[in-house]
Point group: C2
Chain length 200, copies 2
DNA sequence: GGGGAGAGTGGGCATGCGCCCACCATAGTG
DNA sequence: CACTATGGTGGGCGCATGCCCACTCTCCCC
């Protein structure tokens, strides 16, 4: 084994390894040894670049949450185009078809990690909080455009969509849900508030 | 320490100890040693009454799921009385104000346990599956009574309610959600389908 | 009341975890 | 071409977990 040769961007390399493990084997398999083995380096590397394993996990979660920003902006821009149900369906599919469920599971299952993250995002489960905000923002925009009723409880709608989507994805870890399942949820939840007329 | 004196109903005693730990310290704290210590007996007891720790957990989950039956019957009987939203709110509060969230968390976090349970309840996460069936059954009854629209997607509604309720309860493990939060979810989800006229 | 079956006790094993640290290869500097 | 700083390597420690098992105590039946 060669030693001393510096890895390129070891942090990102470890993050990628962790994400692969998360998707392949789930949160329980994500140990420090598994990460370094998957990354193809010695177990000491992780501890040179992060103060401890929970700090590594927290940074991983925060890094992946950062990727939500692009999706959030895209959804916000979609307000007023297509149908509300289709936009919501797409966002749910993107969100829960990815590593999101594993990330949430990871945060829920590790007390120390949750405690650590609470300093950064004090309320609720990180990623779910951000995802809820993403939908709230979008639905508010649609309400302003008059495409959903003015008295719609936008916050509860967002929470409900996230909850249903997460359950759909977490319930069957082996068979990821199809778009159709998300679409049924979207249309069902939005049935009471949609009034598909353009901005008036 | 006295030895040899038989415990009365050791299985139930261990189940109760486990439930106490689950409620007080969460799924991660539920180790075999923690259970026997909480029950006030030696660690060997658990292994005399169960083939291994996962078998114990599986029996615990199945035992607690059994308690849903009474609630399920009560909800079913409530069809046609009060408002649909109030009935749903009550059922959600009962379900997720109890040990249910911890049980679901436990099942999600232990691969071996989930695998073992899959023989008994092959689809989805036990307890969530049963809870969904409970709501489906109730909503179908209400639909037959004409209190929700005939074309309502009862199955998706049930799934959505469970998902939103679970997220509400799991999102803030420290502060259990108030009834009002469940009520907002119920009214929001049901807004599109309720037609509060008695059977006609 | 002696004896055996059943049941609780707790020492201790193997395993896997996070982590520390002594060691050493490489790259950049003069 | 030596010298040092940077950073990868892997042995191994301490701890917790699930589990096994030799030991011991109690109860009950004859």
């Amino acid at each position: 084994m060669p030693t001393g040769v510096a890895l390129r961007d070891p942090r990102e390399q470890l993050f990628d390894a962790a994400e692969r493990i998360l998707l392949r084997d789930g949160p329980n398999a994500l140990t420090s040894r598994a990460v370094t083995t998957e990354a193809g380096c010695a177990k000491g590397v992780l501890h040179r670049h992060f103060t401890n394993f929970d700090a590594f996990l927290a940074d991983l979660v925060l890094d992946r949450i950062g990727r939500l920003d692009a999706q959030s902006a895209a959804l916000r821009d979609a307000a007023g185009t297509g149908t509300v149900a289709d936009n919501v369906t797409g966002a749910l599919s993107d969100l829960f078809g990815s590593v999101a469920v594993a990330i949430v599971g990871l945060v829920i299952s590790r007390d120390a990690l949750r405690t650590r993250l609470r300093r950064t995002t004090p309320t609720g489960i990180p990623l779910l909080t951000e995802a809820t905000a993403m939908f709230t923002s979008y639905l508010t925009a649609e309400r302003d455009l008059g495409r959903i009723t003015p008295d719609a409880d936008v916050d509860t709608l967002a929470r409900t969509l996230i909850g249903a989507g997460h359950l759909l994805a977490a319930g069957r870890p082996d068979t990821p849900p199809e778009t159709e399942a998300f679409h049924r949820v979207a249309t069902t939840v939005l049935a009471g508030v949609t009034q598909e007329r353009p901005a008036g």
